[in-house]
Structure formats: C-alpha cells, structure tokens
Symmetry: D3
Subunit: 208 residues, 6 copies
C-alpha cells in the first residue's frame, strides 16, 4: 500500500512552513509583550536551536568569585516564545550568587559539580535552605528572593532553567547600590544607615 | 412578538448556573495552582463580590508610619480566578512603604490624597522615580523592586490594583532580617556587614 | 568585603537592558495579539510609567451625566503587556454608566467619593447588585453585563482597574443603536419593537 | 533489534498514568478557576471523550424558532481543561439566536445546512455582518455582542466551537428582562422606556 | 430620556477603534510568539471574519483517499489571536487521516456525514477509540497521537476545531519518511528495519 | 531608625502564609486542569523543593541502552504550578532515546557528559539535527517529534528541562506497538505492513 509522492504532497501543501511550531527571535525586529518577532522560517536552521555559550566556564576571577552565563532569548534566539531558557552558574570556592529575583519566571537548578548551599524566602518571610550536592535539584518559585553559595571545597557548577525565555535577573544589591537611586531613598526604603549605603554605592559604582 | 416563558426557558435550561463566569473562593477547600476552589454558585450572593475592608484607613501608628491593607483572594474571595485584586495604602507624613516586590503580578497605583514619591528599579538596574499627586497613576512592572514614600506634608492615600488575585508581597527587609535566615548567609549574599545585619535582625525580630 | 566596580560589572554585562521587564507601547509600530510592539528600552523614562490624565474630572455635562476616562494601552502606553489598566468614573447626581461589558478583562471598582449602586448579571441571568459607599470595593467578572448608577445626592467618583491593558468597552445601547446595524436585525435579535429601535437610533445617531 | 518487554517497561514505569494529558471533569468534586477537578485517569474510558448529545436536532418549536445545544464541560466532561468546546445551533425558518455574548471565549461557526445571516459589533460599535451558506465559516471575537438569523427558506444548522471549555452564554434580553433586575435599573441603564421593559419582563418571566 | 448625539459621542471618543477586540493577521508583517501582527482596524471588514474555503470538498483522489483543508491563521487571518481555528476533513470510502499530532492545541471533531472510527493514544500508552456517526463529537487532547478512519460505506465529512489559531499538524509518517532524516537515524529511533524505512522513504519522497 | 517588632508585625499580619508563592502538590487530593491541589503551606519545608532522584544514573542495562528519569510533579511535587520541571537522560554507548514528543511543553537540553546527536522534525517536515558535546544546549519546540542518540564512545548524560511541571512523554513506538491498538488500525494509519506491526507488538508487549 504505497502512496505516490506527487499525490500525497497535496495533503500538506496548504500548510505554511512551520508556522506556530517555533519563533526564533529576530533581534533586529521590534519585540512585543510575548517576546521578539520571528525570524523567517525559511532562514531557520538547526544552528538556531543550539547554543554553545554555556560550554565554557564563566569567569569567576572577581570578588564574588562567581559568574552567571545566560542563554535567554537575547543570547539564544531559539528559545524565544518557547517558555523556557537556561543559564550556567560557576561559583568558585568561597563564591556566591548574591540575593536576587527573576521577575518573570520560576527556576530549577541542578548541581553538576561541587556543593551549593541554596535557599529562598517566601512572601510570608519563611526561609527554605538546603545544601545540594552533585545531581541534586532545587526549584525556586517565581519572583522570590533566593541565593546560591558554594559551600564546598571545590568549584561548583550548576545549570538553572527558567519557565520563561527572558526571565530577567534583579540582584538586590545592584538594584539598590549600583545606580543613581538617591541615597536618601535607599535609606528610607531599606532601614539601612547612610554610611552603609554610601559605602556600598562606592563599591558598586552607584551615584547620588 | 412575545415569547411564552415556559417555552423560552427551554433554551437555557441546559446551562449550569454561572459555570465559568466566576469562582468565589471557598477558603475551606483545597487550593490549586490557579487559585482556590469555588464556592457553590448556588450560595454566592452579591455580598461575595463586595469588600468593605478598604473603607477605613489602615493603622499608621508604627515607625514606618504606613499601612498596606490588601483585598486579595484570602481577604476578598470574590476576586479568586478573576486576574485582579486591590489594596489600600495609607502613608502618614514621613511614612514609607519599604522596598518590596510582588512576585505574582504587576501593580497600578492611583493617588487619592496627598503626595507620594514612588519608583522602581529594572533588571538593568535603571531607576524610574516620579513624584505623584492626587489623581496621578503609576504602573510597576511585575516582580521588580519598588517603593512608595509620602513626600508631602499631609497623610497620603493610594489604591493599588494588581494583575493577579493573589500577587504576594515580599518586603526586602523583612525577607532578609525578620526571620531565621542565618546572619552569615545574609552577609554573604548582600555584602552587608555583620553588625548591620545583627542590628536589623534585632529590630525586625529575626534570629540566627 | 567590597567588590571593585570594573570586575562586578562583568557579571551583568551579558544582560540586555530590561528585556522582558516591561514593554512600553510604541503606538507607531504594528500591534499583535498580545499587545503593541515595545518602545526601545533605551528611550523609556519614568514618564512612560506615569499618567496624569485621570487627575481631572471627566466632563459629565451630558445627558447620562457621567464620564469614563480610560488609562488603557492606547492612552497610557506604559501598561502595555503588564496585564493591568485603570479608568476613572465620574458620575454626576442622577448620572449613570449604562449597561456594558468589557470583552477582555475583569474589573475591580473602588468608590472614592459619593454613593454608587452597581451590579452585574451572570450567564445564568442571576442579578448581583449592591449600593457602595466611599472606600467600598466591588469586582465584576470578565465579559458580563454590568452598570454603575449614582445613587447618592452628590457627585460620585470611582476608579476601576482591569485585568487587561486593553480590556475594551462595549456599551449595549451604543452597540445596538449608535451604528449602521439595520433596524430589522435589531428588532429580530432583541425582541424590541421597531418604533423603540428607530427612536433610540435617532437619539444615538444610528442609521438604517 | 528487539526489546524484551520486561526490560523496556522500566523506561516508562515512573510515569503516572496520563498525568497532564487530559482532565476529564468529575462534576462531583469542587471546581476551581481553571475548571473542574479531574476524574481519576484509571476510570477514564473512550466514552469520556465522545458526546452524542449534538446528533439530534434541538427543539425549535418555540417563538424564537431556534435552539442552542451546548457540549461544554458541564455537559461533556471530556473537554474540561482542553481549551475547546462545541455547540449545535438549530434555527428554523424565521428563527433567530438573539443578540448575546460569550464572556469566556471566541467562537467559530460553520454552516452545515441552510443559510444564516450572522454578525457582531465591536467595542468601537462597528458592525460586521455576513450572509453565510453551507460550508461557510465565521469567527466571532471573544466577548462581543453577536447574533445568528436564519435568512434562508429552510431550517439552518450550524456547529459553533469555542476557545474555552466553559465559555458561558449571556443572551442580552434574558440578562435584562428574564430576572429580578428592577425595572427602574433597566430603564436607567438602557434608555428603554418603562412600558417596553415591563412588557418584555412579562414575556420573559422577569419580576420587579 | 434621550441623549443628543453630539454629547453622547464624547463618552466614547477616547476609545481607539476596536483595540484589543480582534487582531486580523497581516501576513506581510512579522509574526511573533503570540501570532501575526494585526491588520489596521480601519481596513478590517466583515469579509476578514468569514472563510469560504471549507465549503467545497477536499480532493480525496489520492491513495489515502482523504483530505485535510485547514482554516488556520495562515489561510483565515481573522482567527489570528482568537485562540480558535477550524479545518474540514473529507475521507472517502476506505480513506484515512494517518496517525498525527497537533503540537499546539486540542481538537474537537464533529461528524457531518458518514461514519468515522477515531482514536488517540495517551502518554501512558492507553488507547481511546470510538466509532462515530453523524452528529457525534469527539475531543482529542493536545499533542497526543490520533487518527481518523472512514469506517462506513459512504464518504465521510467532519469539521475539526482547535484551541489555537495555528495548531500545527505533524503526520508521523511524513515526519519520519518524507524528508531528509537519515535512514540510520530513523531505524535507530523507531526500531523499524532499514528495508521498511527505505521503502516508505521511497513512497513518500524522503531522501538519505 | 528602628522598628519595634510588635508594631511592624501588624503590617504583614493580614497576609496568609505564602498564598500564591508556590503550590507543592498534595498527590492525595484531586488534581485539576492547572495541576495538583496544594499541600498546606504550614506543612511545607525546604525538603519539598529539593529532589535527590536525579543524582544517580538511570539503569541503562536494557536494549535501548538508555534511561529517562523524570522530576515532574508526580515525582517532585515542589514543581507543581511553577511552569517548570526537569529530567535526567542517561544514554550508554550505542544507546538511544527513541523518537518521542512531550504534549505539554518545550524542552531544553544541556549535555553534561559525552556526545549526543539530537534532532527534531517540524510540522513542515523539516529536519533539525545537531551533534552536541559537553556543555552544548539544544531546545526542542513543544509537541514536535524528537530524539537523542549517544553518538560518542562513552556514556552520555544530559539534563532536560521543560516549560511545564507535567509535560508528558509519548514515545511513538510505545504508543503504536506497546498496547492494545489493533494491528489493522496501526497498519492503516501508519502505512507499515502487518508483519512489521506484529513483530514490534511482539517485542513491545502489544496485543491485538
């Protein structure tokens, strides 16, 4: 029971190429509330769905001794519109990913190497902390403050995936001290004293 | 051209009462990812859709001189499942709603009385601050750090609505200092020194 | 433990400015099913998130003695993509916001001044009506017919927020009588007699 | 290259039966904002996904000479959670489906027999009307007022599908006249005169 | 109580034409994750919401003796953004719609003529099959393998609606054998032998 | 500027514990379209957000020489409602994850060890294949057929995350041959000959 090609092809000839299957971001077109505009399907190749940028370790030669390397829509256009993205965490001995949130999505972390102490705080101010070893998985609910600390004696690596192709990242200290947010507003809204704010602004390059 | 009741009623007799129109929360039943279970439509009355709890000013006789009075699903079961909720802000002279986020939704604020200086910080650490007067509206995108300060000489009142019936509220200082989050973890993940952390933990009732 | 700016900045250098945090509408670009295209983040300022158009009372010198002043995406581009919007209702003594629906979202109303009798009708034709005073809140589920009447002896003001940045507004009488919908179709689909339809079409500027 | 059953089965033994594939409604359990609770997958059979109730014509022996027969979640539990539902329209000669909305979803109609004049009105009060013949398809955007009239000389049949398993149905005349909505409120919010309202309330069984 | 047109029109003058009501696809503009860009509302007419392409039978003069005629966004731009679409199935005697999935949405089928044996398989590999007659409805949950066979003695016609304006269609045999997917990969990932794969590739026009 | 605990606590006393932050699945309660019911927040601990089941390699001592170990809602209740989940792939030398789909979500894969040849086929039957090495990432759009083959000379490990806490898994061969789907229906809907179907049913434990 064989089907001649020339006839069967009629069945699918009305379907446009891949419409709706995926929407590889064209970063040169306008974006919208749901993400970037789509690259023409005709120009999409397998390379659009693969990202090599997480293969190498991030540079942890900094004082937090850590690096976050994202593969979000802006770096990895293939995830645009697919509700998922990923990033690599490298945390050297003594390193830390400071307290932060992702405004747009939940995060799931798997430890690839080393030991990580991770935790988050809920709206009710409850604290959820665990020490994770190789292969352990932890999930961080959307928008809540969380952190990751290398609690071991060797460099730690983790991959973190997000329920959003562009989840955002707001590091609390950077939001408070690494910009022009006036010192008076910081002290008023955080209960920190002026000297502390000024000191951290100095370190993080903040002004005002 | 009149329709006898007994006949016309056949047209709608197959429709269950209000199914899908609304889902007033029954707080005694289990909740799920989309919200609380629904109260039986037969028991729902107009009272379920009205909330009187925002009519009176919140108590601002505290050191932040401010109060947030929510009408979220847990207080106002009528909003369950409807993608919207509201709260009242009372900010006395010199008062402040400290730096916080809502993990689950965007916020729109309208000033009813007084003057409020409000702002938020983006993932890119950009700062967006404005002084708002009576009738002014400001929107705060989902999950980003923001604050409201009474910048006037009289008590300020505002109503804030959210794109979620249970948007959550995470006040940064409470998340960091008002619980059992270990001091060492706070210092490591915020760059604050131990003395500052200990002091704020003392004030806010935190331990460890 | 301080972090030199030049090193720490490496951590965030890979993140594009604010991508995903917000999407202020650029009304000159095409819109899509999820809303308008985004203004370039580099051009976004605090002003984009603030709207002054609701500070002044709407003009109620008309026969319904009421005004709806919206701050939807088209008027207030900052709400685009954020799942929220707001409007101001001014209802003079004896005024009314006629029976209407919002096809795209639920509504939450808070009375700022005066007294309002408000209500909605469910799919099951059940009626939910309440008289609301200053500070009272009422929620109207998505897509259902509802109304607001000034039931007091002084002008009433309310703010209404929506679970959609562009919720739409369909006033039943305008939909039926203020356009070219043929009289015969109106009578056939509403059971109203021809004279009534013709009369209202005349008043509301409808034709056919 | 064959795989012994006893070994291969290990691969899938960890997967719970059908979790997430579907959620046939158990109408005896509480419902929530996203729909009804799920029947145990172990008890689900093919019969749960099939509905025979649209095979027979609805009874059009009424004055509107029409019938709507729904296969929504409440009638056809298999569609619960699947974002789709269907209904059958029977419209006898001279019959009409009166002006109505579906608060929860968009509608797509296909004419199976006869001729139907259908239309909807937008928020901008623009009118979109077409006469449809057998096999013609028309789409009605979510929440907008629309109608269907048999414009032919033989009975008309159509199937209408919805983007929601429980889209609701609000017939404007029923919402206004077939319940206890006070006459004074109807006249005030619709501009109809008292006599017209009283007359239609009489016909449709409304009170007050 | 009549309202002069020139005054009442003030009430709605602030609302942009139809914004948010619908988004008829402009196939010449870029698409995004949520669908195509919108045609200007000013240029939209009733014709945009009607599709005649399903009125005629599809051509079943092929070896599967069947045809799928879609009215998705690409063919019927009016459904763009509305969460719904439709297609027509024509299955001649002995014909079959081969095993396939729709990656983007659930499907509801109604038999218009003839008899169809339809079924789907769940993630748990459970089989749900039913023989459907005229007027019977069956629902197929999103993303699961399913099929339709003419099990009667006359041509069968069905309409299938989807919970997505662009649900996609992946016919398993076409995905495996009608393209350049290497024979070795097909045998490795399907357990089929090389001869079978080569034979089907020959029939369906596949290479490698 | 310190705040006495007893006063500040008033500010948050109205907020229910963590409502809306997360919804750890209680597998003993009914599930719904959006996932499982929530475990009481008071009983939730850090352990609910951590999963150890992916730390050990899956058993690849089978003929496909591969194992999929999921951490979906049913195994890892902490991800319920969070829009994310994860699984571990172990593929021995010569092993393969057969052609399959996830009906409910997109997948992102990162190679931890070894070399994997992975690919997917679009609705347009286009083929997207790449050979991935350690640290490489590939994304597979929702609902499309895809596979992973160990193309290296050592065991391969990968973590795959999904945009859904319960994405489902439908292995094409299992769906076709490992159940009671009648042989005649398989041959009719796949173009495979009866002998091939019978042989694979024998291997995979299918009947009929």
């Amino acid at each position: 029971m064989y089907l001649p090609l020339f006839i069967l092809s009629l069945l699918v000839s009305l379907y446009p190429a891949s419409a709706g299957d995926f929407c590889v971001a064209d970063l040169n077109l306008p974006d919208g509330p749901a993400g970037y505009s789509c690259k023409s399907p005709a120009k999409v190749t397998a390379d659009d769905f693969v990202y090599h940028g997480l293969a190498a370790a991030g540079n942890t030669s900094n004082l937090i001794k850590a690096a976050v390397t994202p593969a979000f829509s802006a770096q990895f256009p293939g995830v645009n519109g697919l509700g998922i993205s990923i990033a690599r965490l490298d945390i050297a001995v003594g390193g830390v990913i400071p307290m932060h949130t992702h405004p747009g999505g939940s995060e799931i972390l798997v430890v690839i190497q080393g030991q990580i102490c991770a935790g988050f705080v809920s709206s009710a101010n409850s604290v959820y902390i665990k020490t994770l070893n190789r292969g352990d998985v932890m999930v961080f609910p959307q928008g809540l403050l969380h952190f990751q600390i290398n609690s071991g004696k060797s460099p730690a690596i983790a991959f973190v995936s997000f329920s959003d192709p562009s989840p955002g990242l707001q590091i609390t200290d950077f939001a408070l001290f690494a910009n022009s947010l006036p010192t008076e507003i910081v002290t008023t809204t955080t209960f920190l004293d002026k000297a502390t704010v000024k000191k951290l602004k100095g370190v993080l390059g903040g002004t005002n």
